[in-house]
Symmetry: C2
Subunit: 345 residues, 2 copies
DNA sequence: CAACGCTAGTAAATCGTATTACCAACCGCC
DNA sequence: GGCGGTTGGTAATACGATTTACTAGCGTTG
């Protein structure tokens, strides 16, 4: 803390007034070449870096966008984050991320930190319900976009992907291949996403007379759970097995594929076709490359950032809160990715 | 921006002075129950949230730690980040992360942002060389810890893992199993880590008279590259093949395992034992669970945070910079994880 | 030459909080 | 009843930048 150097130190060093140094940064053309050069040297010599707190306090404008993401660990988050970062960077702003470890308390803590910092905007993929909080922030002039979930309030901007459509794509694909005994492998339905995917699957099955959907429940959505589930299925008599499996995520599907391939009794996709969901990086690298449903992570991130900047502009533009306007919600259609686990090599 | 509410608004609402409201937050015991209650209500009613910029400006103390990580996408980063976050949170501070997309420019940008924000400390796993920058920051009172790399300057605290030892562990394990024709699968040596791992492997081989190390070069460190490499090896005559493979990372090893298992000609580990490096989440979930070398990510993160807090205390404690003290470097010993890919089921 | 408009620069106010120094009132106590 | 101590509170200042309003000097111009 010894070496604080302020704009005043620079001014003194360069033999000018403090405001002139400020002008040097913001309206450099107002200065004569001589003083500009003197100040440049002073800044260099002293290693001056402006104090953001002071700047913010005065201007009320922050160059940072906050991003609160549940489970940075989650396989899909980095892709979204990178897309957002790219967009934010293009706007000459900065993206600061907070790792939401799943605790609702910590989630709020970070939301509050960002509020205290008066960031320009917040993108959040929350675990808890934060819409009320976000509404409050908006009234305070902080824009926000909810990610990965459709906002309940019409005033809350949000982006998400349409899991119902996604799972329809998957199951239609299986049906199109002539499969009729579909197994849906999923865990607890309390996750909205899982419920949505099941709904989509069902809606397809119901429209096909001779098709059936068997719901196979697993305790977790991990590779291990997939392996365990596959071993279970392998013990059934062949006539009793599904001829296609729709797994609620890629991890499960990968476990199943590995187990079947190793067991050598069930061929993929001849005996059983397998399709997953998410298109994680590993999906194309499994021993039988995995068909899956891809949600456009990068596009989602970019869209979230776009919406955010729109709202920021809006909040700054007219006379503040122009009543409860209706905020956009953008829903992305997932995309079917066909690989060998459904159509052979 | 319409609804700014400051400490003064609260004061007015509660019919007290501005300083009393400040006291309410920092020395609540100084207030009578009555006023405390009035202020509480005022804060509630107005939804007051203190302005961090003003607070910082006044106190010069920030509650945030900055973390600049190269490739949040990297499989190992989240684990480190989570460990750091836990430690930071225990200190009642906040961790804000910046995603370094690999551009040295952006890396510096974020470093500068953190400097402008006068954060309390910075942990950085950089792509470029930033020690000079960090030294400057330290002179300004901002602590820092370099992660995943040993600092060159003795004044720079850092943490890393010992890749030489790690690969020694791996190769010694293979030797201990009676293998002698070891293949080392790696990509370009320009990455320090890769070079270190090769060095470690070599040092073991040289000490065992009849052991040989064949260096097998691959273009990338991905699952696909592993599969391609495995196909190559499968075409060799059995006598010509290594009897053990040490892969420079788990992805390569996973590709190789998948390919061998699918090809059914080469048994793991009977014909060829395979060991990887990193212990990524998938390592235990492959069809033949992968032996590997685990670097203690969580411990690394915790240690980094510990060092940082030490330095913060030091910077704040005595009369500022007490000359160039020697900063600690902590090196973690990796740990051998033995699974079926080397010792059978 | 008076009036005007530029140019290059400065002084001072301001942002919202924490803190220091100060004060009034009350209490107890010899 | 005077004195020290506590309790509960306030006024004023400082933090480091931005910004507004102002000015001195100077060339132009009708």
């Amino acid at each position: 803390m010894l070496n604080k150097v302020t704009i005043r130190d620079v001014a003194e060093f360069a033999q000018v007034s403090q405001s002139t140094v400020s002008n040097y940064f913001h309206k450099p053309r107002k200065l004569s070449d001589a003083t500009r050069e003197r100040i440049r040297q002073a800044v260099d010599a002293l290693g001056f870096v402006p104090n953001d707190a002071a700047r913010m306090l005065r201007t009320g404008v922050s160059p940072v966008i906050g991003y609160v993401a549940f489970e940075l660990a989650s396989a899909t988050t980095p892709e979204v984050a990178t897309a957002i970062e790219r967009r934010v960077s293009a706007e000459d702003m900065y993206l600061l991320m907070a790792n939401d470890t799943g605790s609702r308390q910590r989630e709020r803590d970070y939301l509050q930190l960002f509020e205290q910092q008066r960031v320009s905007g917040i993108i959040i993929a929350p675990v808890g319900d934060v819409e009320a909080e976000l509404a409050r922030l908006r009234r305070r002039g902080i824009a926000s976009v909810l990610s990965a979930r459709r906002a309940v309030s019409p005033a809350q901007a949000s982006v998400s992907t349409d899991h119902v459509t996604g799972s329809r794509l998957a199951v239609e694909h299986l049906i199109g291949l002539g499969r009729r005994k579909i197994g849906f492998i999923a865990s607890s339905l309390d996750l909205r996403q899982v419920a949505d995917r099941q709904r989509g699957a069902l809606s397809v099955i119901e429209a096909v007379p001779d098709a059936t959907l068997e719901i196979i429940s697993v305790p977790e959505r991990t590779v291990e759970a997939g392996i365990a589930c596959a071993e279970h299925l392998a013990r059934r008599s062949p006539a009793d097995r599904p001829d296609a499996l729709f797994c609620v995520n890629d991890l499960l599907a990968i476990g199943i594929i590995q187990s079947f391939v190793a067991g050598r009794r069930i061929r993929i996709p001849e005996d059983i076709a397998v399709i997953g969901y998410d298109d994680i990086e590993f999906a194309q690298s499994t021993i039988v490359p995995l068909s899956t449903v891809r949600t456009p992570h990068a596009e989602l991130g970019t869209a979230a950032a776009d919406l955010l900047f729109d709202e920021i502009a809006e909040l700054r533009g007219p006379e503040g809160a122009d009543g409860e306007r209706t905020a956009p919600h953008i829903e992305f259609a997932p995309e079917l990715v066909v690989r060998a686990s459904t159509v052979g090599a």
